[in-house]
C-alpha cells in the first residue's frame, strides 16, 4: 500500500464508522459504544434502553432535555419517594419563595445530586455531589442546624447522613418524635416475631381441594417421569389445587380434560403464567433489581422504520436496510454475571425470573427465602448468614421448634411481607428497604428489636457484614439527643 493511500483509507474507514454511529443514534442499532461512562448500579441493567431516561426530542434545548430527564426519574421513582414521605420533595422547592435555595442546591431536579454515566463522582446511593451536601442549605440563617440544635454544634456536615441519623429522602424511622417515642426500648422484644409472617404462615388455605398424585391431568409423556410428579404432589401448587394444565396449558381452562390439556400443552411455560395468579409478587418483582428489566417504564427497542420516518429518510432507505439497523433485542431478564456485587462464579450464567428461586414443581418458599439467595449471592453478609443467630432462629422455625414468624430468613428482611387491603403478600422488590439501610427499621427490624439497637446495628458496617453476629460497636446518639431536647422543652414549658 502506497503511503498516500493510508490516510485516505483511514478517512474512509472513519467516515463509515461515523455513518454507522449516526445510524445507531438516529435510526437503530447497538449503542453501547456511545455510553460516555459506566452507568450506576441498577440503571446499568437498562442502560441501552436510552429513551427510558433521555426522553427529550433530538436537539432539544439543554433546559428541555434536563426537564425530560428529570421527568423520567420521577416516573419510576415518585411512588417510592411518596411512600418514603420524602423530606425534600420537589414540590416543596418549586415554590418561588424557595428561590434562594435553587442557587445553593437545586432540589427541584433529581439530576442536581444524581448524575448518570459519571462513575468517577458516584458516591453512596448514587449521589454525585460531595456527601456533605447538607451544608448547602443547613449551615446558615434559619436553617443553620448548628445554631438550632446545640447538640449538633461541633458536627461535620459529612456525618449528617453517614452517622445513622439523617437521610435526604427517607426519615420515617429517624425523625425526632419517632426517636423519642421509641426511646428506652429493650434490644429485643419479649416475644420477638414478625407479625405479618406469622399471620401469613398460619393463614387459611383457599377452600379448593388439595390435589394428590393421582389427580394430575397431563399428557402421558409428561407423566412418565415419576420424580416430577412426586415433586408436584408435594408442592404448594398441588396443595392449593393447581393442576398441571393451569401452568402448562392455561388455554385449556378450568375444567380441562387430558385431551384439551394435551392439545394446548406448553413444555416450558414462561413467567407470564406465574404472573397470572401471583400479581402482587409480579408487580413488585419488576420494581427491584432482580426484575427491573421488565419494568413497564423501560423504553422498548426503537422501530427503525418509524425512526426513519421521523427524520424524513424513510423514502431513501430500503426497508431491508432499515430492519437490519434495528435495535438489538433487549434481554428480558438479568443474568447473574451482570450483577456488580460479589456473586458465585458457578451461577454466572443464571438468569433471573420466577423459576430461578421458585423451582416450579417444588414450589417451596422456604428454599426461596434463603438457600435460593445464596445460590447466586456470594458476599460476606450472605456467607455469614448461615452461621448467624438469625439463621438459627429460621432453622428452629422450620424444624417446628419455634413459633411461626420467629425465624429470620433472607426474605424476612429483604423481601418483607406487606399488607395491602387485608391481603398479605411478599414484597418481591428486594431493594425497597435496602438503601439507605435505615429504611429497613420500620417494616422489619422493629418487629423484634428496639429502635436504639436497630440504629446502632445498622450503622455498624462490620456487624452488617457479619450478618449481625455479635453486638453493635457503634452508638448512634440521635435518640439520646432527641429525648434530652424533649425533656428540656417540657421542663421549660412546665416551669
Amino acid at each position: 500500500m502506497s503511503p498516500k493511500i493510508v490516510p485516505w483509507a483511514v478517512v474512509a474507514a472513519t467516515l463509515a464508522g461515523a455513518a454507522w454511529f449516526a445510524a445507531a443514534m438516529t435510526v437503530g442499532g447497538d449503542r453501547s459504544a456511545l455510553l460516555i461512562g459506566e452507568t450506576t448500579d441498577a440503571h446499568h441493567q437498562i442502560e441501552l434502553a436510552c429513551e427510558t431516561c433521555h426522553a427529550a426530542p433530538a436537539f432539544a434545548s439543554a433546559a428541555k432535555a434536563e426537564k425530560a430527564l428529570n421527568r423520567a426519574c420521577r416516573k419510576c421513582h415518585d411512588k417510592e419517594l411518596k411512600a418514603a414521605d420524602d423530606s425534600h420533595p420537589r414540590r416543596k422547592f418549586r415554590n418561588p419563595r424557595m428561590a434562594v435555595y435553587w442557587e445553593k442546591l437545586d432540589a427541584r431536579l433529581c439530576t442536581t445530586c444524581h448524575v448518570e454515566h459519571r462513575p468517577e463522582i458516584v458516591r453512596a446511593s448514587a449521589v454525585t455531589v460531595a456527601m456533605d451536601f447538607c451544608v448547602a442549605c443547613h449551615s446558615e440563617g434559619d436553617q443553620d442546624v448548628r445554631a438550632e440544635r446545640p447538640s449538633h454544634a461541633g458536627l461535620a456536615f459529612d456525618t449528617c447522613a453517614s452517622a445513622g441519623c439523617h437521610n435526604y429522602h427517607d426519615n420515617r424511622a429517624l425523625y425526632e418524635e419517632f426517636l423519642v417515642r421509641h426511646a428506652g426500648e429493650p434490644w429485643l422484644a419479649d416475644a420477638p416475631a414478625h407479625e405479618l409472617s406469622a399471620r401469613q404462615r398460619v393463614r387459611k388455605r383457599p377452600a379448593r381441594a388439595a390435589l394428590a398424585r393421582g389427580d394430575a391431568v397431563a399428557p402421558r409423556a409428561a407423566l412418565a417421569d415419576p420424580a416430577w410428579l412426586d415433586r408436584w404432589a408435594d408442592s404448594g401448587h398441588a396443595a392449593a389445587g393447581v393442576n398441571c394444565g393451569a401452568c402448562h396449558a392455561p388455554k385449556a381452562g378450568k375444567n380441562a380434560t387430558r385431551e384439551t390439556v394435551e392439545a394446548s400443552w406448553i413444555e416450558a411455560p414462561g413467567t407470564a403464567v406465574c404472573e397470572d395468579c401471583h400479581r402482587p409478587q409480579a408487580r413488585t418483582f419488576v420494581l427491584g433489581r432482580h426484575g427491573m428489566r421488565r419494568h413497564p417504564r423501560v423504553a422498548k427497542p426503537r422501530d427503525p422504520l418509524r425512526q426513519l420516518r421521523k427524520i424524513g429518510l424513510s423514502e431513501f432507505v430500503p426497508e431491508t436496510v432499515a430492519l437490519w439497523l434495528a435495535d438489538p433485542a433487549p434481554p428480558t431478564t438479568m443474568t447473574v454475571a451482570e450483577a456488580r456485587i460479589p456473586m458465585r462464579s458457578d451461577a454466572a450464567h443464571g438468569t433471573l425470573d420466577c423459576g430461578t428461586c421458585h423451582t416450579p414443581h417444588a414450589v417451596d418458599v422456604r428454599h426461596a427465602a434463603a438457600e435460593a439467595c445464596a445460590s447466586c449471592h456470594d458476599d460476606p453478609h450472605t456467607r455469614a448468614y448461615f452461621a448467624s443467630p438469625h439463621h438459627a432462629l429460621w432453622r428452629a422455625e422450620l424444624a417446628g421448634e419455634a413459633p411461626p414468624g420467629t425465624g429470620v430468613s433472607c426474605a424476612t428482611c429483604h423481601m418483607p411481607k406487606t399488607e395491602r387491603r387485608g391481603r398479605i403478600a411478599t414484597d418481591h422488590n428486594q431493594n425497597d428497604n435496602l438503601r439507605p439501610n435505615e429504611k429497613m427499621i420500620r417494616p422489619v427490624c422493629l418487629d423484634c428489636h428496639g429502635l436504639g439497637f436497630s440504629l446502632n446495628a445498622l450503622a455498624d458496617g462490620a456487624l452488617v457484614e457479619r450478618n449481625f453476629t455479635g453486638t453493635p460497636a457503634v452508638r448512634v446518639e440521635s435518640i439520646g439527643w432527641a429525648t434530652r431536647r424533649a425533656q428540656a422543652t417540657k421542663r421549660e414549658a412546665g416551669g
Binding site: 420533595p89 418549586r94 415554590n95 418561588p96 419563595r97 428561590a99 435553587w102 434559619d142 436553617q143 414549658a493
Partner: protein, 184 residues
C-alpha cells in the same frame, strides 16, 4: 381527604388561569384565590378538627398523623394543598407563614414576606400587596392575615416544644397567607 385537597387545588387553579386570561388585575386574582383557600381552611379547622378533636374528642389531630392514625393539622392540610398545587402548575403559588413559626422553614424567607407579615400583624384587618423578584422572575405577591379561629389552633401553638410564642389567644393574627403570581 385526598379528594377534598384535589378539589381545592383544581378549583383554585381553575380560577387562577381563567381570570388571568381575561386580564383581571393581579390583586383581584390573588384576593379570589385567597377567598377559596381561607374558606376551605376554616371549614376544615372548624368542622373537622375542632369538632372531632376538641368538642367530640373522637380522634386526635397530630403532626405525625400517619403514624398516629390521626387527622392532619389544619396548617399541614393547608401546606399539602400548596404543595399539591406546586406539583401541578407554576401559575401561582402560596404558603402559610408566620413571624413565629413552629417550623423554622415557615418563617419569612424574603424581604417582602417579612414586611408583609409584619404589616398584617400591625394593621388589623388589612392585607399587604407588593412585587418582588425571585429566581430571576418578577412576582406579584399578596399577604393575608391568618387568625387563630378556634381553640385547637392555639392549643397546639402554645404547647408545641418548638413554638417560639406561647401566649396566643383565639382571634390573634398568628401569621399570614402569602400568594404569588408570576407577572409574565
Amino acid at each position: 381527604m385526598k379528594r377534598t385537597l384535589l378539589t381545592i387545588a383544581v378549583l383554585a387553579f381553575g380560577i387562577g388561569s381563567a381570570v388571568a386570561a381575561e386580564g383581571i388585575p393581579f390583586r383581584k386574582v390573588a384576593d379570589m384565590l385567597y377567598q377559596v383557600m381561607s374558606a376551605d381552611r376554616e371549614v376544615y379547622t372548624r368542622m373537622v378538627v375542632q369538632r372531632l378533636t376538641v368538642d367530640k374528642k373522637v380522634i386526635t389531630a397530630s403532626e405525625h398523623f400517619e403514624d398516629d392514625s390521626a387527622l392532619p393539622l389544619p396548617a399541614q392540610m393547608f401546606r399539602f394543598g400548596a404543595e399539591r398545587v406546586m406539583d401541578q402548575t407554576e401559575d401561582f403559588s402560596y404558603a402559610l407563614l408566620s413571624l413565629n413559626p413552629i417550623n423554622k422553614k415557615n418563617g419569612p424567607g424574603t424581604d417582602l414576606e417579612r414586611k408583609g407579615l409584619r404589616y398584617v400583624l400591625e394593621n388589623e384587618g388589612e392585607n399587604f400587596y407588593g412585587e418582588e423578584e425571585l429566581g430571576g422572575e418578577r412576582y406579584f405577591a399578596a399577604v393575608y392575615p391568618d387568625y387563630a379561629v378556634v381553640e385547637a389552633c392555639i392549643n397546639c401553638h402554645n404547647g408545641h416544644k418548638d413554638s417560639p410564642r406561647r401566649d396566643l389567644k383565639v382571634g390573634d393574627v398568628m401569621g399570614g397567607v402569602v400568594i404569588r403570581i408570576p407577572m409574565e
